[in-house]
């Protein structure tokens, strides 16, 4: 057997650390906004169920956010440790974008997270809501900048190349708003919202099955199903537009996703098959004639390029792309289907009657994460063999690190991630298994055991709430 090369190990390591990482922000981007909505509804209506639900989810947010922070710090160093040549060459362009991410997003999130988690007593309702909002904005800014970076690697624009071979900025506007960025941003932010909605929906469904009168569980389920019914179809549309943008700028990626090897007019839509990179054919293809052309060009006889239009060494690895793309699309369709099903149940007035719908929602709970990972695998492996599409090859991007060092650190990452984040996910499940209760404690207040008179400023209490002890 051939031993893996350093470059393969570097890729596997980056794929591993970034895949683990994306799970957490995909969840916290959505959850931060959900928490902001819940707190706003509570402030407006004063209804206890909103703050109960808020307190229930903030515990989950805290654990997830911590894992996002520590796995994110790793990412900011992985560029240099594994892809030092890439870092040197793209630093003048991508570095400032990431710098903005740190300055406008990471600090904002981290700076107000403490107040959001622990400060309700200390700062009062209004400022606390502001902190929640700022954390939510922070997660969005973070997505904005990092997706701009990723999109630039997919569709580089606004650059020049200097005498030492670095990409240098020519036009910042073109760099930030490079051709694929708006599409990717919309697609990913919607994905984060949907992912969160399906987790919330699954938790709500789980507790409805146990006690269909649980008010908080009903609220979660109802809100999540609205998201599924409204946002999932929007996401399918956004994904389609994003796909057309990819066709324009990275047609080879689309060819690999669709399993097309030959360039054809009236190309079929291949539903299932096994793309074979050796023979240049998709084996066992089940296809619908001409539909591929129609989807991609909006003409029945439009011409669709196949992989053979490019030299073989430039082919992205179709066997993975073909399937990762289908998994993502399949989940997207299932999400929309569940949303419509819930609409039907809502109309019939049976939304909260424990049944098949709730079991299906539980099953769909983790599917957002699967779809996010499948989508990222599609777009990132589809960028191969380049790191900066068409300009800088992956093989020319790597650090001068030998395979044994990479193998060792990869093994260390795998062991540590599964141990630390495995435990974290276990704790998350444990929190989610507990039903939300009226007067949910959340993260207990700051002075639980201190008598009110002793503190310099009397702690603020919220309506219907009495001082209670911690832990």
């Amino acid at each position: 057997m051939e031993l893996p090369l350093a470059i393969d190990l570097a890729r596997i390591q980056f794929a591993f650390t970034v895949s683990f990482h994306i799970i957490f922000p995909a969840f916290t981007i959505g959850l931060a906004s959900y928490l902001a909505v819940l707190e706003a509804l509570w402030l407006i209506t004063g209804r206890q169920v909103f703050i109960d639900t808020f307190r229930y989810w903030i515990k989950i947010f805290a654990v997830t956010f911590a894992m996002g922070v520590v796995s994110g710090i790793v990412m900011s160093y992985q560029f240099g440790t594994n892809w030092s040549v890439f870092s040197d060459k793209t630093g003048p362009i991508l570095g400032p974008l990431m710098g903005y991410e740190v300055l406008s997003a990471f600090f904002l999130e981290a700076g107000f997270l403490g107040v959001m988690l622990f400060g309700m007593d200390r700062v009062g309702k209004g400022l606390h809501f502001l902190a929640t909002l700022l954390v939510a904005f922070g997660t969005f800014f973070s997505a904005f900048w990092i997706l701009s970076v990723n999109s630039w690697m997919q569709t580089p624009a606004g650059y020049a190349i200097n005498e030492v071979g670095q990409f240098v900025p020519a036009d910042w506007w073109e760099i930030i708003f490079n051709p694929s960025f708006p599409y990717r941003l919309v697609h990913m932010v919607l994905a984060a919202y949907l992912t969160t909605a399906f987790v919330v929906g699954a938790v709500g469904a789980w507790h409805i099955l146990k006690d269909s009168r649980n008010e908080s569980a009903r609220l979660m389920f109802s809100m999540a199903m609205w998201m599924a019914a409204i946002v999932a179809p929007i996401q399918i549309f956004a994904g389609d537009v994003h796909g057309l943008n990819t066709l324009e700028h990275q047609p080879a990626k689309i060819a690999a996703m669709e399993g097309h090897f030959e360039t054809r007019k009236g190309a079929p839509l291949i539903l299932f098959g096994l793309p074979n990179m050796e023979t240049g054919k998709t084996d066992y293809a089940i296809e619908i004639p001409a539909l591929g052309s129609y989807i991609l060009t909006h003409h029945w006889d439009g011409e669709v390029k196949g992989l053979k239009a490019w030299p073989k060494e430039e082919w992205p690895y179709a066997p993975v792309l073909f399937w990762s793309f289908r998994i993502m699309v399949g989940i997207g369709l299932a999400m929309a289907a569940l949303g419509f099903w819930s609409l039907y149940a809502r109309l019939r007035g049976s939304l909260y009657e424990p049944g098949l719908l709730h079991r299906a929602a539980i099953l769909m709970g983790p599917m957002g994460f699967v779809a996010v990972l499948a989508g990222w695998i599609t777009t990132e492996m589809g960028r191969q063999p380049y790191t900066v599409y068409g300009l800088l090859k992956t093989v020319d991007s790597a650090s001068p690190i030998d395979a044994p060092a990479l193998a060792f650190s990869l093994a260390a990452f795998i062991v540590v991630y599964f141990a630390a984040f495995g435990a974290g996910v276990f704790y998350l499940f444990r929190i989610m298994a507990k039903p939300p209760t009226p007067n949910e404690t959340g993260i207990p207040e700051n002075h639980p055991t201190r008598a009110a008179g002793i503190t310099a400023t009397p702690p603020l209490r919220f309506p219907g709430e009495s001082p209670k002890s911690g832990h």
Partner: protein, 334 residues
């Protein structure tokens, strides 16, 4: 007038690293001292003194790394592979101690696992940062815009010494922070830890300072030749003053003064290092001007930084202010 953007950015990056060292320094220090605290109550208190602020503190490390990538990409591209093992060790250590902040409260029977995860993670991260510092000071071999040295270049008696120095120094910051933020038995113990680690820190600063000039002629000239010595001499004098202030603070049982004195020690050491480094960003092969991205990159980020960094400092200060005052046993954020 031409603005020297690389110079400004070198200052900003240095500021970010310093902010990281002193802010995360005390919360890593708590982790290092964790095994010496009584299980349960004392550890709860110690952790709660930093729970609301630790990830803000850690963000300065991301700014240090991300900033280096942005404004000195060549330095980033050389330093990361050169210090591969200590950097990876630091990241893994930070994972263990970061998740402990949350996980520790989620289990009673296995709390000890996360206590150790917190302690060993903090110790590993601190030691790796110290090694990184030592390896940078002793210099990195560069050829063709890339790291040209071997796998174990970073591992020398000097870098191990700086590793220990940072561990002891962070423990001092942690101990003096506890003096400031706690009371009763834990505070009394913290006075004891501050004595030990205070002496240790000053002693190790002395050894490292005496060793450094012999690593490279540049350092030697900076510290011992005229007229450079006029600029550098105040540093050791001020270090002595800070050490004395620490001593008095501990002896007279001040609460804030030991922490401030310990911070002063760190700032002064950092300034001392800066004097030794300048104008190199990778001693002694790459200067800040060699490593800098084009002015358009530097300028673009500087616009944002000049607005956002003051804002960040303001809301960070606000967050510390919100959580001001002593943390007592039984007060739980969790």
């Amino acid at each position: 007038m031409e603005i020297d953007l690389p110079f400004i950015w070198a200052g900003l990056i240095a500021f970010a690293v310093l902010a990281y060292v002193i802010l995360d320094g005390f919360d890593l220090g708590l982790g290092i001292l964790f095994p010496f605290m009584r299980t349960g109550g004392q550890r709860d208190v110690a952790m709660n003194t930093v729970a609301p602020v630790w990830d803000g503190n850690e963000t300065w490390l991301v700014l240090g790394g991300g900033g280096l990538f942005a404004v000195f990409p060549l330095a980033y591209a050389v330093i990361m592979p050169a210090l591969y093992a200590p950097i990876i060790a630091m990241l893994l250590g930070l994972i263990f101690r970061g998740v402990a902040f949350e996980f520790r409260w989620k289990t009673k029977e296995n709390q000890w696992v996360w206590d150790w995860s917190f302690a060993l993670g903090s110790l590993t991260a601190a030691f790796a940062q110290g090694i990184t510092l030592g390896a940078l000071v002793q210099g990195i071999e560069v050829a063709n815009r890339g790291y040209a040295g071997g796998w174990w270049d970073w591992l020398t008696p000097f870098s191990i010494l700086t590793g220990f120095a940072v561990v002891v120094g962070y423990a001092l910051l942690g101990a003096t922070w506890l003096i400031y933020k706690t009371e009763g038995a834990l505070q009394q113990q913290a006075y004891g830890w501050a004595w030990t680690t205070g002496f240790g820190t000053v002693f190790l600063i002395g050894i490292v300072s005496m060793w450094t000039p012999f690593l490279d002629d540049v350092f030697m000239q900076r510290w011992f030749s005229f007229p450079a010595i006029i600029y550098s001499a105040p540093v050791p004098i001020l270090v002595a003053a800070a050490a004395y202030s620490l001593l008095v603070g501990l002896k007279e049982r001040h609460e804030l003064r030991p922490f401030v004195s310990a911070l002063a020690l760190f700032v002064l050491c950092f300034v001392g290092l800066g004097i030794g480094f300048y104008p190199y960003i990778v001693p002694h092969s790459i200067t800040i001007w060699d490593a800098a991205a084009p002015d358009s990159s530097l300028m673009f980020l500087l616009y944002g930084a000049s607005v956002l960094i003051p804002l960040i400092l303001a809301y960070t200060a606000y967050s510390y202010w919100v959580f001001r005052g002593k943390v007592r046993e039984g007060d739980g954020y969790h």
